[in-house]
């Protein structure tokens, strides 16, 4: 037994920190290659129609590519083969890519679209998901008998709730560089999921796996916005690079990034809820509609997570959830932190406060009566383990925020206080992790070990957190662990860096690697073993924890290995004249199993909470004729330093037995709760708002009840 300070649970210095504060860290736009060209995209200007002509007359020093330059299949390989890399004759949304142009001079591409004419035969677009005739995915969850639950109810309460688009707004826009050569392609890029890009390139370029290489550069934020979109962009750069025979860099400017790339799915959620007189849920009938935009992308899985979380963290014997993701003629919506759960938990949590109001029950009491406890079953019938923590987070948040006292004191003033209770499943849904069959490797080095995973650092702390887990499992100092860059030529496919899975799932694989390696060292230190026997590599592959079962046909069973739990309290002030809302104090209590790096975990919670406050109040994507009309940071408003609400974060730890050192996921959950807590605080102020963002215009339309409820 070696005397090594423990790394897990301490705030070790993050591995990427020093390079990021000195300007040394290399992001995609910081790289250049000899002979490199710059690429641009010519996009559709209409939402729906047929392309009847392309008129391009550019000097020969411009490289122009269209769909005929795609050697493989013309779609972005993800789930459905429906989204073309480059439009052939049909256009389904504004900003759909049609042509690619490359030139040696970046400035030669400014306003390039003015020198190219695309002719269209326009058709009538549809922007209403409820009027769409194309459903990408339909999911039903049935627990118990909904009719019986409604029949047994003393009261039935209905409600409809809507959420808008939200932009991820990573500060570094999307960008890649494709480098051709010798029948191969190498793509460098700002991305979350190198193996998604790898697969898309293989399909579009018709290349075998060993001729495609994807390398992640330092990535300036993702939030889901660099989950699937970089696959499209990488194919574009690769098509141009192959045609030009030279490296091609494509970096979107902010307007293009906002207009063309994915957003959070807008939603319409309807609840019909049966209750006993004393506030017990007897039936939850929920209908979820998500606006998928023009192509399927990830809508099926976003919908899946959305419906699974739609009943909230509540116990109810009779639940029916219907979910549909519908096609509309807007740019495809896609992954964004929370992945469907923020929309559906906004609805259920706003609905709970309306129920409390109508039954005359305190909103905390209503949640205490119904909150899931260990041993209860969720909407999919998953029986919860000892780490189910809805009640502990609720009680801690109520206590820390002095919720009840403030609720009384603020009644009838321009201030209000509201809360939300929520949960978030860690890892891929249902059988997803089994299908992914992720791998992680650990290589012995002269001074310790090197981590080889496909999981990306996008700011959340992947490298540091993984190194902490390995250090402790291997029994060596944190500094003895290095992390290989994410290069598909060297690291295994650890699955995508999404779904709050990088710590709980990939971290667990690394813990297993480290324990195996430790056993093989047989009491020697890594340095001693390395000197005597040289290096070796250990690989672990995902195996489901014993007893985990999922029925994809019936959408029933253990939807996730575990859940993290959280409660938000928001205190805010409404300006009675302008109806502007200022969050004053936010409390966020989160139960995450084990905080591997407490400071980074707090960073995830604070950052996600702020992003959720933006979602609730200011972040409005204005769509005009199928195009984002406010595609600038001047008028798409995210929180600034002066808007930052004070956030009181408390972390609770109830270890999950199959997580590394007990850890569960933390990255996404913080964005699930702020919006309903804001809306419930506005309700406390007398504003009956049921859609977000709750802009002054929406508050004005909702009107204020003179006598606010206590």
């Amino acid at each position: 037994v070696r005397d090594v300070p423990r790394a897990v649970g301490t705030n070790v210095r993050r591995k990427d920190g020093d390079a990021k504060v000195t300007g040394a860290a290399k992001y995609i736009d910081d790289l250049t290659f000899p002979g490199m060209l710059y690429g641009a995209t010519i996009r559709s200007t209409i939402p729906r129609g047929r392309i009847s002509g392309r008129r391009v007359s550019l000097p020969p020093d411009f490289i122009v590519a269209d769909h005929r330059d795609i050697p493989g299949k013309n779609y972005v390989a993800l789930i459905e083969p429906d989204q073309p890399c480059l439009a052939v004759d049909e256009v389904r949304h504004v900003a759909e890519p049609i042509l690619l142009i490359a030139h040696a001079g970046k400035h030669a591409l400014i306003d390039i679209e003015r020198r190219i004419a695309i002719d269209y035969q326009a058709a009538t677009p549809n922007y209403d998901p409820e009027k769409s005739d194309l459903c990408f995915k339909e999911i039903s969850i049935d627990k118990g008998r909904i009719e019986l639950g409604l029949r047994n109810a003393d009261r039935v309460i209905d409600g409809e709730y809507r959420t808008g688009h939200q932009e991820q707004l990573y500060i570094e826009t999307n960008g890649v560089i494709a480098v051709p050569g010798d029948g191969r392609i190498t793509v460098y890029g700002s991305l979350q999921c190198p193996y998604y890009v790898h697969k898309a390139l293989m399909v579009a370029l018709n290349l075998p796996p060993d001729r495609v290489r994807v390398i992640q550069t330092e990535t300036g934020g993702g939030f889901g916005g660099k989950e699937e979109y970089p696959s499209m962009l990488a194919c574009h750069a690769a098509i141009l690079a192959r045609k030009a025979g030279r490296p091609v860099k494509m970096i979107y400017d902010r307007v293009e990034d906002l207009v063309a790339t994915t957003k959070r799915h807008p939603s319409i959620v309807r609840h019909r809820t049966g209750l006993s007189r004393d506030g017990r849920l007897t039936a939850m009938d929920i209908d979820v509609i998500m606006d998928g935009g023009a192509y399927a992308t990830l809508s099926a899985v976003v919908l899946s997570r959305g419906v699974i979380h739609a009943a909230g963290p509540y116990r109810c014997d009779h639940v029916r959830i219907r979910g549909r993701a519908m096609m509309t003629h807007t740019p495809p919506n896609g992954a964004f932190r929370g992945f469907g759960a923020p929309q559906t938990q906004f609805a259920v949590e706003a609905h709970m406060d309306r129920i409390a109001e109508q039954l005359g029950i305190d909103p905390v009491r209503l949640r205490e009566i119904n909150a899931l406890k260990p041993g209860d079953t969720t909407a999919t019938g998953q029986r919860l383990g000892k780490d189910a923590s809805a009640l502990p987070v609720l009680r801690e948040a109520v206590k820390r925020s002095a919720f009840r006292k403030k609720r009384r004191q603020l009644t009838g003033t321009n201030r209000g206080i509201g809360l939300s209770l929520f949960f978030h499943g860690s890892g891929f849904t249902g059988g997803g992790e089994v299908k992914l069959a992720s791998k992680a490797s650990l290589e012995l080095t002269a001074s310790g070990a090197r981590i080889l995973v496909g999981s990306t650092e996008i700011g959340q702390g992947t490298r540091t957190m993984h190194a902490q887990i390995v250090a402790d499992a291997l029994g060596v100092p944190f500094e003895a662990i290095d992390v290989h860059e994410v290069d598909t030529g060297c690291v295994p496919d650890s699955g995508p860096t999404v779904a709050s899975r990088t710590c709980m799932i990939v971290g667990k694989l690394l813990e297993r690697c480290a324990r195996d390696m430790r056993a093989r060292l047989g009491g020697l230190t890594p340095a001693q073993y390395f000197r005597q026997h040289g290096s070796f590599t250990v690989t672990a592959q995902y195996e489901p924890p014993p007893g985990l079962q999922w029925d994809d046909e019936r959408y029933a069973g253990d939807a996730y290995g575990s859940y993290a739990w959280s409660c938000n309290v928001v205190e805010l002030e409404v300006d009675p004249v302008t109806l502007e809302v200022t969050p004053v104090q936010v409390t966020a209590v989160a139960e995450i199993g084990k905080a591997i790096h407490p400071m980074m975990a707090v960073g995830q919670i604070e950052g996600g909470t702020a992003q959720g406050i933006g979602y609730a109040l200011t972040e409005e994507v204005v769509m005009k004729d199928g195009r984002m009309a406010n595609a600038q940071l001047t008028n798409y408003i995210i929180p600034t330093p002066l808007d930052a609400a004070a956030i009181d974060v408390a972390i609770l730890e109830r270890p999950y037995v199959h997580g590394p050192f007990g850890a569960k996921g933390v990255g996404e959950m913080p964005i699930d709760g702020p919006a309903p807590a804001v809306i419930n605080a506005l309700r406390h102020c007398g504003f009956d708002v049921r859609s977000i963002p709750a802009t002054p215009e929406r508050l004005l339309a909702a009107g204020r009840r003179l006598k606010a409820e206590g």
Partner: protein, 154 residues
């Protein structure tokens, strides 16, 4: 044009209206200065000109002629630069890192002992999407104050 960047004189042959951001990144080879929006909203491209924080995407290079420009690569040359850089690592102010150079340079002109309100005002033109800002405020406070309470929230 002659521009002094991080104490070193650079002779630049470029259009005088070329953005200072591009001159720094392309002509001086200093890629630590980042572009986030190109319209002066996000502050990722913040540099100091004669000690004043500016958005280098809005400044024509000619405006920097004969002036002292400090970028993140030279931040340690300012009185608080090194302390700020260290504090952003130690207190979680840097996550994805793309806003970090701008944040550090926007904070650099602050005096030691600046209040939270002064810090927020200095950073008002800089956007961060990862942290929600509290960790950035804690980092700046830690750098500017000798003793700082390492609370989890503020």
């Amino acid at each position: 044009m002659k521009i002094v960047v991080n104490g070193r004189a650079h002779k630049i042959t470029a259009h005088p209206m070329k953005r200072l951001l591009d001159v720094l990144r392309e002509d001086c080879g200093l890629t630590g200065t980042k572009e986030g929006c190109g319209e002066g909203e996000c502050g990722a491209c913040t540099v100091l000109i004669d000690g004043v924080a500016v958005d280098s995407c809005l400044v024509p290079a000619v405006h920097a002629e004969g002036r002292q420009v400090i970028t993140i690569e030279g931040a340690a040359r300012t009185p608080t630069g090194k302390a700020l850089q260290n504090a952003f690592v130690e207190h979680g102010g840097a996550q994805c890192g793309i806003c970090t150079p701008g944040m550090i340079l926007a904070a650099a002109p602050l005096r030691r002992g600046a209040s939270l309100h002064q810090i927020k005002t200095a950073l008002a033109g800089n956007l961060c999407r990862c942290t929600g800002y509290p960790a950035i405020f804690r980092s700046v406070e830690a750098a500017l104050h000798k003793k700082v309470k390492r609370g989890r929230s503020r």
